[in-house]
Symmetry: C2
Subunit: 329 residues, 2 copies
Amino acid sequence: MRIVVPAGGIGGARFLRGLRAALGTDAATESNQATENQITVIGNTGDDITLFGLRICPDLDTVMYTLGGGINEEQGWGRTDESFTVKEELAAYGMKPTWFGLGDRDTATHIVRAQMIAAGYPLSAITTALCDRWQPGVRLMPMTDDQVETHVVVNDGDGRRAIHFQEWWIRHRAALPAEEIISLGAEKAKPAPGVIRAIRNADAVIIPPSNPVVSVGSILNIEGIREAMAAKTVVGVSPIIGDAPVRGMADACLDAIGVRTSAGAVAEHLGSDLLDGWLVDEADAGTEVDGIEVRSRPLYMSGPEATEALARAAVDLAAELSERRAGQR
Amino acid sequence: MRIVVPAGGIGGARFLRGLRAALGTDAATESNQATENQITVIGNTGDDITLFGLRICPDLDTVMYTLGGGINEEQGWGRTDESFTVKEELAAYGMKPTWFGLGDRDTATHIVRAQMIAAGYPLSAITTALCDRWQPGVRLMPMTDDQVETHVVVNDGDGRRAIHFQEWWIRHRAALPAEEIISLGAEKAKPAPGVIRAIRNADAVIIPPSNPVVSVGSILNIEGIREAMAAKTVVGVSPIIGDAPVRGMADACLDAIGVRTSAGAVAEHLGSDLLDGWLVDEADAGTEVDGIEVRSRPLYMSGPEATEALARAAVDLAAELSERRAGQR
């Protein structure tokens, strides 16, 4: 089965690990194509930021490190066995900002990327080159090679202004009320090479429990991606259980766009033109959304088995709905 | 007394620490000008190299770290308490070269510099900004803001070719015979802002025991610097004792330009038009060079006291020769 997954950071990466296990793809099968199963990840780049002259792609790197065995498991982002010498030294030089958690191992990734950017390579080619080392067992591509950055309009004592999503998310821990969330550059951005083709060739699209606004939403904003996906069987996994995000601060993002923090409201927001199936937690059993097949099952990715089972449930639902679509034609 | 010092890396930096002690200048007096003594260092940038998209200035940094208290004392270069995580990670990505000793703390300096270069600042302004943190107690300026790089023509099994000085020095430990040493870009380079003025305003120039070819020689190659210095009282400290460099591999550089490795031959090479006085080691007592006042005394900088005494001897000789010049006018 060929699956396309539009993914953000931590939640998407963890789900992908389960999906890879469920489909039996890994680094070896990825290269020799011994299995017919293939996962293509379309990574969110709206969180990307340039700091200290380095281009940092938090979501792509979280997916790459998680699937490549380099992630800090407890934290969910950044490298395992990480140190922060470079960050301390930059602060000693008075360099701003100091709120970004730039690790030494992680810095090397950004140095490689910056050097390839300077040499003229597009982000998609750079991502492929970085994955040569990590062998994530999936094809990882950025949603676009163009620069798209999510900014958040806030209004505190310093007046109404737009700040980079990372500043809002990390420095302010999403606690400054967001009046608006803007995807700067999205209107002109083109999908990265291979993105639309991967969706067209896919048997199904599975939306992981990533942030529906700044991760999945950013990807769907890129020209042609939503339409290509809508032509496929699309199954999503709710990032909301009850009235709270499974992890992270997605509720603050949903507030900003006027969507209630509930599994049903997020499915409605994504839309029945896009979504065919939607997995909600057992706590949300009974959720109904017009035109979308809703199933309930345990959503917490509490360990490898639970995560694989969740991914398998999404794949099974996608297969079932695909057959139903085929029957209806 | 206002002293200008054209300096390379380790030897120059250690001598400067003695000179600063001898003249009683330090970070505090540098800023408040409480003393009339002032040291301006014209740093060699011929060793500079771009690696991993970062501009690395080994000699400027060695002077800055040594005078700023951040140097690895045993090694003579690089930061104290250094780690090499970034370097290991770059190697894991297959990035070349792997022979350059890029430390994590040091990397932060290069990231600051790269960011300022990208923002359009010249190296002289960047060096001043970096020194804001280190407070070296001297004015440190690069010999030029233009890119000048020393390359070495070698001829081994791979044929005759020019390699960057750092590759020759570090990777090959100067063991590949050098057929020629080329200062790429030197013919078009201009002195950095303030360099010529500092020399004109100086009471004396003191040449430390830096490499006479690739450090002092590179600086003297820049348009106008040698001429401006020749108009002053210039005292040098021999980097050679007996038939060997005090430290480093200067003999390999002298071989390449056909100069014998001896205190006298180096003085002759620098020239009596430039040099007024020359300090040689007691082992070289009796050395005579036409037109240059040669004095012998212990040259080993075995500790702070010995280094300060050596610097004081250079200052005293410069003062004596200045008076003599004044008397002759």
